[in-house]
């Protein structure tokens, strides 16, 4: 236990120093890692605890971003209003759409959410009176915490990551709670879960709503970071890369989500140094992860650790 505390302290120290010692572009990527962790966290809850593949997260990410952009730039409202508006709209939409669509299972559900993302992306494009279309909305103000303006990546970094940690704590609470228990039961056997009075549809819908909340929050954070939002950021491709976060890292593990977010933010950046071939390499890396590490990076870490323990055990015996 003490060694665990020690490592947590080390991780926290690294976390606190990191934005000051790395170049600005890396600090910028670290901000994105935080934002993506939040969005990926919701998908991880659905994937790891409900067995639901959600390919619609860019929809809620977009709603959060546009709500923040529209409220601050077009209406001149405080940024907090944008955050709340985005969250409320996303959660309401997730509830209304989730109830029917979550009756689907397996492939149908996965492709249903993908279709949802495609619809949303088309609507973001068409409703240019609201979203600015491909031209987008620019001039979104940096966040201002009681006079302290978060205008540099190193400053915004702390804000984003504190929000991310809060979201992780909330997700952890949910997993450890009675609801989490019922979710895992439902994932293992929906037949038996129903016989124990677990409301399958209701639970799935509520987790979907929580996922949408995280997506919207991430979107609002993104809008205030980039200062500019346009349709290109909320396409189906973005939904796919959000799904990759828990898939690559490991859906049931919170460090796994962060690892997945690091993967999807940093890997393309590093690969891009190799020139235009980087997108191919990214695709291949993804295929390799799916084929070779079915439980994600954290699953692999767990297996290596189990193997180590087993080996040490046999050495001792």
């Amino acid at each position: 236990m003490t060694s665990r505390l020690f490592w947590i302290a080390v991780a926290l120290a690294v976390w606190a120093v990191l934005p000051f010692v790395v170049p600005r572009n890396i600090a910028d990527l670290l901000v994105f890692t935080g934002i993506y962790s939040i969005a990926g966290l919701g998908i991880g809850l659905l994937l790891g605890h409900c067995g639901i593949v959600n390919l619609a997260q860019a929809t809620f990410y977009g709603l959060g971003a546009y709500a923040s952009a529209y409220c601050t730039v077009m209406m001149g409202l405080p940024s907090a209003v944008g955050f709340v508006a985005g969250a409320v709209i996303s959660m309401a939409l997730a509830y209304v759409i989730g109830r029917p669509i979550l009756r689907l299972t397996g492939y149908f559900l996965a492709l249903g959410t993908l279709a949802l993302s495609a619809i949303a992306s088309a609507l973001f494009f068409e409703w240019d009176w609201l979203t600015g279309g491909t031209l987008g909305i620019g001039g979104i103000p940096k966040l201002d915490l009681f006079g302290f303006v978060l205008d540099r990546p190193s400053r915004y970094y702390f804000f984003v990551w504190i929000v991310a940690f809060a979201c992780m704590a909330v997700a952890r609470n949910l997993v450890d709670s009675r609801t989490g228990l019922m979710l895992r039961a439902m994932r293992d056997s929906s037949t038996a879960a129903a016989s124990l009075s677990i409301d399958l549809q209701g639970l799935r819908t509520r987790v979907f709503v929580v996922c949408a909340l995280f997506g919207s929050l991430a979107g609002s954070l993104f809008a205030h970071h980039a200062s500019f939002v346009s349709t290109q950021s909320f396409t189906v491709d973005r939904s796919i890369s959000f799904l990759l976060i828990p898939v690559i890292g490991g859906a049931t593990s919170i460090p796994g989500i962060v690892a997945g977010a690091v993967f999807v933010t940093f890997l393309p950046e590093f690969l891009s140094k190799l020139g235009d071939i980087h997108q191919i390499l990214f695709g291949l890396a993804l295929v390799a992860v799916v084929v070779m590490l079915p439980d994600g990076l954290m699953g692999a870490v767990g297996r290596i650790r189990a193997w180590h323990v087993a080996r040490r055990g046999s050495d001792a015996g």
């Binding site: 994937l47 689907l104 492939y107 249903g112 088309a122 068409e126 191919i280 695709g283 291949l284 084929v291």
Partner: protein, 295 residues
């Protein structure tokens, strides 16, 4: 709303629908043969069309040979995907979701490869049957569209004969219905799965080659075609490749008739909404249970 407008929309719907049908039939054939939803089905179309474009313009092949080359490229990529990835994962009893993620990853890789090797630009192919048009009650129909529809119908009938009359087709059906049972009667299940991917690759490529003279092909076309093809397959009942033909035509017609009323930019919104509603309300597809026996 005039009659010619409706007629024009019907022709456009049937034309697009035939393309969705070809992509959807490939998707359904692969699903039937392997229980894999192939999220890179649209990439077969892009590969087929791009290969044809390159063979025609860069290598100077005659058009029919280039088309055959494009179809062959689809078949080869299909076989490669099955042998290199699907077979290995099937051996490990990978979950439905892993197969979906695998094909999504392959779709990203292939689309990026096209971007890298061919470039960002769209390419057109010459229309079959020349630039001529047919005018019926003020509605304009390109000769190419007629060729497309005819080839689509031909492919559907051929597929039907294949599944019902040939040994390979019947074996494929058997292997998909009961893999263990089929294996005991001497059917090589893995090879049958490779065949379904080859078939899926050819059908996807055919859809891509035929649609390119109308809308052009670029590296981004795949995802949209995958979704439309999936919608067609789901409408037809998913396990029934011939149902996908009916599904594709229905989708095409719904799409093009719906946009008479509203702006044409809502075409995809309409198509995907139809997909979601059908999946929820009619999980067996529009043909219902009866349709399942068809393939």
């Amino acid at each position: 709303m005039t009659l010619s407008l409706v007629l024009q929309a019907v022709f456009a719907g049937v034309t697009n629908g035939m393309v969705y049908a070809l992509v959807g039939m490939g998707l359904a054939a692969i699903f039937k043969g392997s229980r894999v939803i192939n999220a890179m089905q649209g990439e077969f179309s892009v590969i087929g069309a791009m290969t044809t474009v390159l063979l025609l313009t860069k290598a100077g092949w005659p058009y029919p040979a280039a088309i055959a080359g494009g179809a062959l490229a689809g078949a080869l990529v299909g076989a490669f995907i099955e042998v290199a990835f699907v077979r290995y994962m099937a051996k490990k009893n990978a979950s439905e979701d892993s197969f979906l993620l695998l094909t999504i990853g392959l779709a990203l890789t292939l689309s990026a490869s096209i971007l890298f090797f061919v470039g960002r630009d769209g390419h057109l192919l010459p229309p079959l049957g020349g630039e001529g048009v047919l005018i019926v009650l003020d509605a304009v129909i390109q000769f190419h569209a007629l060729w497309l529809i005819a080839i689509g119908i031909g492919a559907t009938l051929l597929l039907r004969t294949f599944f019902h009359r040939t040994t390979v087709g019947l074996s494929m059906m058997a292997a998909s219905i009961d893999a263990d049972g089929a294996a005991t009667t001497g059917i090589n299940v893995a090879r049958m799965r490779t065949f379904t991917f080859v078939l899926g690759g050819v059908l996807g490529a055919a859809g891509g080659i035929l649609v390119t003279p109308l809308i052009g092909v670029d590296y981004q076309l795949g995802l949209n075609l995958t979704l439309k093809g999936f919608a067609a397959a789901v409408l037809g009942g998913l396990t029934n490749p011939l149902g996908a033909a009916v599904g594709g035509l229905t989708l095409g017609l719904v799409e093009s008739l719906a946009i008479i009323g509203i702006s044409s930019s809502y075409k995809d919104v309409v198509a995907f909404s139809v997909l979601i509603v059908i999946m929820i309300l009619m999980p067996q597809g529009i043909l219902g249970r009866a349709g399942r026996r068809g393939g």
